[in-house]
Symmetry: C2
Subunit: 379 residues, 2 copies
């Protein structure tokens, strides 16, 4: 944590960057906390648990203000005149989410001279320049686990939507048509198909467990093997070489964080080696794949269907090719922000703020950058 300055330099010695900016952090006193969330607008009053919004601000305003802290919330995060920019110079803590990401660039980190702590309400902090955050000696933390079930459920939904060719049927209904053949000629059972997950972290493992009763051939690729007990329980087979696994799959699910190593991993060349008609689900990050290569392969039919809720950038512009490519089942970034997930990541964010004020450690698995040192998977 930021307050443990004594140990920081020793830890930093392990870090790749030689030019760390030493910031003087203190957890004592009144803090200015800024939260960037999506706006609920007319939906604000429809659900008392809709806490992950500008209107509700994670439900922590009274708690923060009663302790003398200042709390600003906004959805205005783009450009040099936005509300977020106005507060950069004096904020101590910035709370962001992956669903309406405030891109925390090196430049913004430089401006935010009092910044100590970047909290992601949710999972996935790639909207933050982690290298710059590490060099500035900051701490970046997520509410690890808060929405892994939410995302895994959503992935299984998307697999089924693609395998069973749901959307053409739905379109027939709303257009007044009825043509079973137009759906059935490319509708399949999930049973018996080969499903591979790229990444078997928390979300990937939950997906494998949920896939188990569907009697698929389950494969996974990761840096390390999953727990042997879980391997037996799910029947999933470890594939050490990604490029050996991918061409075996009828369905590929991306479950890996976006890092400099994984950016653009599913590019034109890799796609060309996949099975014709392969189905791809990506709720991880849009930039894991080459946007245009995916759109082209959906148009040619080499990719038989693509579904996910992640794009780059977000919000996706009106002319993003994935909005218009055939056989897509896309949504805005939604899978991790169910009402159930919001309640969990609001509680997790509050817990970390509380620990921060008290000078206590966070749960270890929450750290992405701990006092200037990147977590191993991001190095």
């Amino acid at each position: 944590m930021a307050m443990k300055r004594a140990g920081v330099s020793a830890i930093r010695a392990l870090c790749s960057s030689p030019n760390l900016t030493r910031r003087v952090h203190s957890t004592a006193g009144s803090k200015k906390i800024v939260g960037v969330f999506y706006k609920a607008n007319e939906y604000a009053e429809l659900n008392p648990n809709f806490v992950g919004t500008v209107e509700r601000g994670l439900g922590i305003r009274d708690w923060l203000e009663s302790q003398g802290h200042q709390y600003v919330v906004t959805d205005d995060k783009e450009g040099s005149d936005c509300e977020l920019e106005k507060h950069l110079s004096d904020l101590h803590v910035l709370i962001t989410t992956p669903f309406h990401p405030a891109y925390v660039t090196a430049e913004r980190i430089k401006k935010a001279k009092n910044l100590q702590l970047l909290l992601t309400a949710g999972i996935g902090s790639d909207h933050i320049d982690l290298k710059a955050a590490a060099e500035a000696g900051l701490t970046v933390a997520e509410v690890t686990g808060s929405n892994v079930v939410s995302v895994a459920e959503d992935e299984l939904m998307r697999i089924l939507i693609l395998v069973r060719n749901f959307l053409p049927g739905y379109h027939q209904v709303i257009n007044g048509d009825w043509n079973v053949a137009g759906i059935a000629h490319r509708a399949y059972d999930l049973e018996g198909k080969t499903v591979g997950t790229v990444g078997a972290g928390r979300i990937g493992r939950l997906l494998l467990q949920r896939l188990k009763p569907f009697n698929c051939n389950l494969l996974y690729h990761d840096r390390i093997k999953i727990d042997p007990e879980l391997e037996v329980q799910t029947g999933a087979k470890f594939e050490e070489d990604l490029d050996v696994m991918l061409p075996k799959c009828d369905i590929i699910v991306l479950n890996t964080p976006l890092t400099e190593k994984t950016r653009g991993m599913l590019d034109k060349e890799r796609i060309s080696k996949l099975k014709k008609g392969v189905l791809i689900v990506n709720n991880a990050r849009g930039a894991l794949v080459d946007t245009q290569a995916v759109a082209d392969a959906c148009t040619s039919g080499h990719i038989g269907g693509y579904s996910g809720d992640v794009w780059f950038p977000q919000p996706a512009p009106k002319d993003h090719p994935w909005r218009y490519m055939p056989n897509q089942a896309m949504t805005p970034h939604i899978s991790g922000t169910t009402i159930d997930a919001q309640l969990r990541y609001a509680a997790g964010t509050k817990d970390m703020l509380d620990r921060y004020f008290k000078g206590e450690e966070f749960p270890l698995q929450n750290y992405i950058v701990k006092e200037g040192v990147l977590a191993p998977q991001y190095r």
Copy 2:
């Protein structure tokens, strides 16, 4: 089977109808077989396994004709001038499907004086007047089990589509919008919700198995309890009284055959007692529910979402209210006619024809009406 005439009268004595028409059946000689399927049209050539169509006719034409039988296939099944009507007077076997149902009325059965056998390529024979078929001493059989996995998978997809509020997100994408709040305010995790299945036959049990890893509270109502081992495996709790179970459910799935007892079971009164915002999945039969009561409750919001692939009648007319009601995720009748299912029910239909020609029994579970006697669940 029709060929075992010696035992028929004894069995018929057990049957409720006193006025059985005794037809003289013989399995020997050349037979005229008529199949009613949906047309593939421009999709026929897109998939070599697209066998459940007029164009492919279950892939049994060569086999039938090589044995001297006549095989007519059509999709023209409505009205007195349709192709089906032309063949009623001299057909011996009629093959139909639930996806493009030829309604086999008492009047049609009366016209079909040579008819011996009604085969349903798929599951669900309620498009046949079973009482009239029994009174005529006919045999009605399905390919039991051929698409139960297909339907159960589809049900889980629909549960997730409703719980997670998928379609509003998809609509935003294709309309060039991005409004996470418009989706998230009513998107939930499936985890922790109470899911009740009305009927725990083959499909209901497969659904419960697939729901197990989602950590829901699982309930089921049926005439009899499921196997104790499966009850332990799935954690599903038996509910003897339907009207006690239904108001407990966040999600209700219908998995019961359409009979005179179940027709219209989910009517206005029962709907009024459900939880506000309840989600309903019905891949069983459209006539299990009151069409207008469902549409009204979706409009009022009492039903939070309704998804299924069954309608009455089928094809659904252009002005069917379910096409236009809010929060629907409907498709044409598709869940049991995936390519995998088609291959299975084509094989099962061929197997029963083969047994019929040889004078052999069908697998016992396939019989809906056996030589004039209704299976117990249809009485």
